[in-house]
């Protein structure tokens, strides 16, 4: 079943097509042009209750073209990166640029900012895994979870493996590619008591398959996470400190990043407009971006403008030290790009780290949140109100599971009230952080 995927050949092919598209745009009268193309291939296996549920082979490609004619811009894209399709896409982009309005800020990033060094960031680790081997891993994962006493049902276990190439080129003569891989193994289980059912999950996700957690570890952890939710009560409404589990604390970093993103700032759609240099977090807290980290989940030596990526410090000793900008949003704000077209890459926190048990002790009486639900975050005002589940903490110790409550506050206050960061760092995503202890939030429950 393993599909052949020659990443090097794919990259060469995509590079030649991107170059051809750029040339075609020039011939058709575009003053400038940029083209992104990608090919991804993967396999996904799902098992449930000891049986194979689905086997899926995926192969996705795409090409996106933006042309600049004078101060006008047009974009077109297709899921087909074949030659004929690319020609149609370029023509359509130029056609659209006849109608769009003039934008004095619309142009490529400056030529001198283009990335010139492309070190091997070690983010491409193909996994030649036969279907049967993939099924065995997923079954081992689910079985380990289902063997734990009290697990009544399963939502299944899944293994997915994939690799791909993306290529970006523009009419400055910039043309570069990046290969990458991602593999993950996950399990979701269900337990039941007289009160009803609960489910929870765990997963591992890595660029290098050798670094994945063992199927048994993931399955057992999913079972433990599910069982500990049984017998949940509802907490009383009140003001309390909240400890956010690491996988949720990374979401708080995400809300901060959305608010310092150039696009939100120039549209006045951020609660952090005009905040550069101002204190937001405690002075012991620093947030860095390491886009060229070896093996990092989001590593890349160029951003989606072709601009070289560099280490950024977004929060320096509690103060907002930099916005997160693309070439376009930087121009709108009369600033310089930070190499963040396409987003942030590999966020790392520099702060004194505390063991989770010590954070619980520091909290004394409060709430440990392990799940958040819904989209109750207002990026314009920073108002925050989300559904939650977790544990009641009294005398610095976890007492019992709680559910069906909300945690609310305002992100500006929440960031200022950050009391500590845990050493229980979650490294599965682009943001690496431990738990966050935040003082004085509103819990709404019974």
């Amino acid at each position: 079943m393993t599909q052949a995927f020659d990443a090097a050949a794919q990259q060469t092919l995509l590079e030649s097509r991107v170059a051809a598209a750029l040339e075609q745009a020039r011939t058709l009268g575009a003053d400038a042009c940029e083209v992104g193309a990608s090919v991804d291939q993967g396999t996904g296996i799902n098992v449930r209750m000891g049986e194979v549920e689905s086997v899926e082979l995926s192969r996705d490609q795409g090409i996106a073209v933006t042309v600049y004619v004078g101060k006008r811009k047009g974009s077109a894209s297709s899921s087909d990166a074949g030659e004929a399709s690319i020609r149609a896409v370029v023509e359509k982009a130029i056609d659209i640029a006849r109608y769009t309005g003039e934008d004095p800020y619309a142009r490529l990033a400056d030529a001198e900012l283009m990335a010139t060094e492309f070190p091997d960031l070690k983010v491409h680790h193909p996994w030649s895994l036969a279907t049967d081997e993939a099924i065995e891993l997923a079954l081992a994962c689910e079985n380990a979870g289902r063997e734990v006493e009290g697990i009544a049902n399963s939502d299944g276990a899944g293994l997915s493996t994939g690799e791909g190439v993306r290529v970006y080129g523009n009419s400055h003569g910039f043309l570069a590619g990046q290969r990458g891989s991602r593999h993950s193994l996950s399990c979701m289980l269900i337990a039941r008591d007289e009160q009803g059912m609960q489910r929870d999950y765990d997963y591992s996700s890595e660029r290098d398959p050798a670094k994945l957690s063992s199927p048994e570890t993931i399955g057992r952890s999913a079972a433990e996470r599910t069982l500990r939710r049984l017998g949940a009560r509802r907490p009383e409404t009140g003001r309390l400190p909240v400890l956010f589990a690491p996988e949720l604390a990374s979401g708080l970093v995400g809300h901060f990043l959305n608010a310092i993103a150039g696009g939100a700032l120039y549209r006045e759609a951020s609660f952090l407009c005009d905040s550069l240099g101002k204190p937001l977090f405690p002075d012991w807290f620093t947030l860095q971006e390491k886009p060229r980290e070896i093996g990092g989940m989001a590593s890349s030596s160029f951003d989606s403008d072709g601009v070289y990526t560099r280490d950024n410090i977004f929060v320096d000793s509690g103060r907002i030290a930099s916005y997160m900008l693309s070439a376009y949003s930087a121009r709108r704000l009369n600033m310089t790009t930070t190499g963040n077209a396409g987003g942030a890459r590999n966020l790392r926190i520099k702060a004194p780290l505390t063991a989770q048990a010590d954070l619980l002790a520091q909290m004394g009486r409060g709430v440990l949140v392990t799940e958040l639900m819904g989209q109750g975050v207002n990026g314009v005002t920073g108002d925050y109100s989300r559904g939650a589940a977790g544990f009641w903490v009294e005398n610095g110790k976890i007492q019992y599971p709680i559910e069906e409550f909300t945690v609310a506050g305002n992100l500006t206050t929440m960031f200022a009230n950050l009391m500590g960061v845990g050493d229980d760092i979650d490294t599965r995503g682009s943001v690496h952080t431990g738990s966050w202890l935040i003082d004085d939030m509103t819990i709404a429950g019974s």
Binding site: S54, K73, K92, T100, Q375, G376, A444
Partner: protein, 484 residues
């Protein structure tokens, strides 16, 4: 519109098959590849879509984009197992490759023949048109500029206006081994306005939009630019005056229309066939039991003319249907695709949906709404001593296993002594689906559908949906504000 789907079928064959050198006979050859040894059902799903988007910002349409997507997805089933592969090429070679790959899910067994095409037809729920072609590029830009001008003129506090006009022209064709051959041409358009208003150092957003399965020209004819621009500004100005929301349990009155996402989250997902077959839904095994207050009747309805969630046929070729889910408080139906219906000995309900050819279908909602009751909306407000009145919402989410659901208000007011008083900031409401539905105590006679803005996400796949409800009173729900 009650014609057969003959015309869409001819058009779909011309658009999807002819360019790759295929004809109707090639469908049978394609199915043969997918009906490998041991396979008991297979289907081919061909799709092509054209997506257009125009965005206005700073008074100018500076950004516009066009996307062309398409390919074929091939599925082979054996028992509860699914093999799935897809290709963005619609050619004989791609059908052979994907068919063989998908049928690899079965390792042995006899080869079954697929059924010859059975004559079928479905009443059209919308016109099979290309919605993008009715308006010129200049007209589309003029519509967006009109929204910008009206929003800015509406109030001096308005500092930013973003407006967008999007449309999708989608053509699908399904051939399945059970004899299904069906096609659908699905238009979908949407107009949206979002504004930022600033006053006394505060900034708030307001947004409004809508659309459906019809031509872009209808958006202009219905004057949506003015309507949604004014509505977005109104909402932003209300929010500029909003106080912090209360925290805790209280009576909640939900407005008619879009607040129907309550039903989508609290009830709808839990009644999708897959979750009930797997017994992972809080509603599993409760068929025929009381799951909501008397008077509560909830349906999923793909047959509404021109609505965002409507479907002439679903993505397995089953005609879209009107499916009662809860009748007078009693659970009476699930939403099914073919796989889950067969495994549960039930009939498919036309709820199989997929984001694209590159995604597997599963049971999904279409337009989900609660039928009107008897109460006067004014009486419902008057009956509340102290509570929340929520009229607009952002997104929602549900844990179908525990039944816990949330949805976040984007416009809400306090009710004090039976009167609507101060606006309060958006807060998340949380409850338990079956419990919340049993706390519905008053149902308005003002049933309304939303304006056509919903996108539902499930297992990473997004599909357009509709919701609706009359004004509703829930005796108790937890409101997640900051004022405890």
């Amino acid at each position: 519109m009650t014609q057969s789907t003959k015309a869409p079928l001819d058009e779909a064959i011309a658009i999807l098959l002819t360019p790759g050198g295929l004809d109707a006979a090639a469908l049978d050859t394609g199915l043969d590849h997918a009906m490998g040894a041991g396979i008991d059902y297979a289907d081919l799903y061909f799709q092509r879509s054209w997506h257009e988007s125009w965005v206005l910002e700073d008074g100018e349409v500076k950004d516009a984009s066009y996307n062309i997507d398409g390919g074929v997805g091939v599925r082979a089933l054996v028992g509860e197992k699914t093999g799935f592969a897809y290709s963005n090429q619609i050619t004989a070679g791609a059908l052979a490759d994907t068919g063989r790959t998908a049928s690899g899910i079965a390792r042995s067994g006899s080869r079954l023949a697929s059924q010859p095409v059975q004559a079928g037809g479905a009443p059209l729920r919308y016109a099979g048109i290309d919605p993008l072609s009715g308006l010129s590029a200049e007209d589309k830009i003029a519509l967006l500029k009109q929204a910008d001008r009206i929003a800015r003129e509406a109030d001096p506090c308005v500092s930013q206006v973003t407006a967008s006009l999007t449309g999708v022209h989608e053509v699908v064709l399904v051939r399945a081994s059970d004899g299904t051959l069906a096609a659908d041409i699905r238009p979908l358009v949407r107009f949206n306005v979002s504004v930022i208003a600033a006053k006394n150092g505060r900034r708030e957003r307001g947004s409004a939009g809508g659309g459906g399965r019809y031509a872009m020209a209808r958006l202009r004819d219905e004057n949506v630019a003015e309507r949604y621009a004014k509505e977005a500004v109104r909402q932003a100005l209300v929010n500029l005056e909003a106080l912090d929301a209360p925290a805790g349990q209280m009576p909640v009155v939900l407005g008619s229309g879009w607040p129907g996402i309550l039903l989508h989250e609290a009830v709808g997902h839990g009644l999708e066939g897959d979750f009930n077959r797997k017994q992972s839904s809080a509603f599993a095994g409760r068929m025929g039991q009381r799951v909501a207050s008397p008077g509560v009747t909830v349906v999923d309805d793909a047959t509404l003319a021109d609505r965002r969630g409507s479907m002439t046929i679903d993505d397995e070729g089953t005609p879209g249907a009107y499916t009662p889910l809860i009748e007078d408080g009693i659970l009476v139906g699930y939403m099914q695709d073919k796989l889950n219906a067969r495994l549960m000995n039930m009939a498919p309900t036309g709820n199989a949906r997929r984001e694209s050819f590159a995604h597997m279908p599963m049971p999904r909602m279409t337009n989900t709404y609660m039928l009107a009751g008897q109460d006067d909306p004014e009486d419902i407000i008057k009956s509340v001593k102290r509570g929340l009145y929520a009229v607009s919402f952002g997104g929602g989410q549900v844990d179908i296993t525990s039944g816990k659901f949330v949805f976040s208000a984007s416009e809400a007011y306090m009710i004090e002594d039976g009167r609507i008083t101060a606006p309060v900031k958006g807060a998340t409401l949380i409850g338990n689906g079956p419990e919340a539905m049993s706390r519905v105590s008053m149902i308005g006679h003002d049933m309304a559908l939303d304006t056509g803005i919903g996108v539902c996400g499930k297992e990473g796949q997004g599909v357009p949906v509709g919701v609706g409800q009359p004004t509703l009173k829930l005796d108790e729900l937890t409101v997640g504000g900051t004022q405890s």
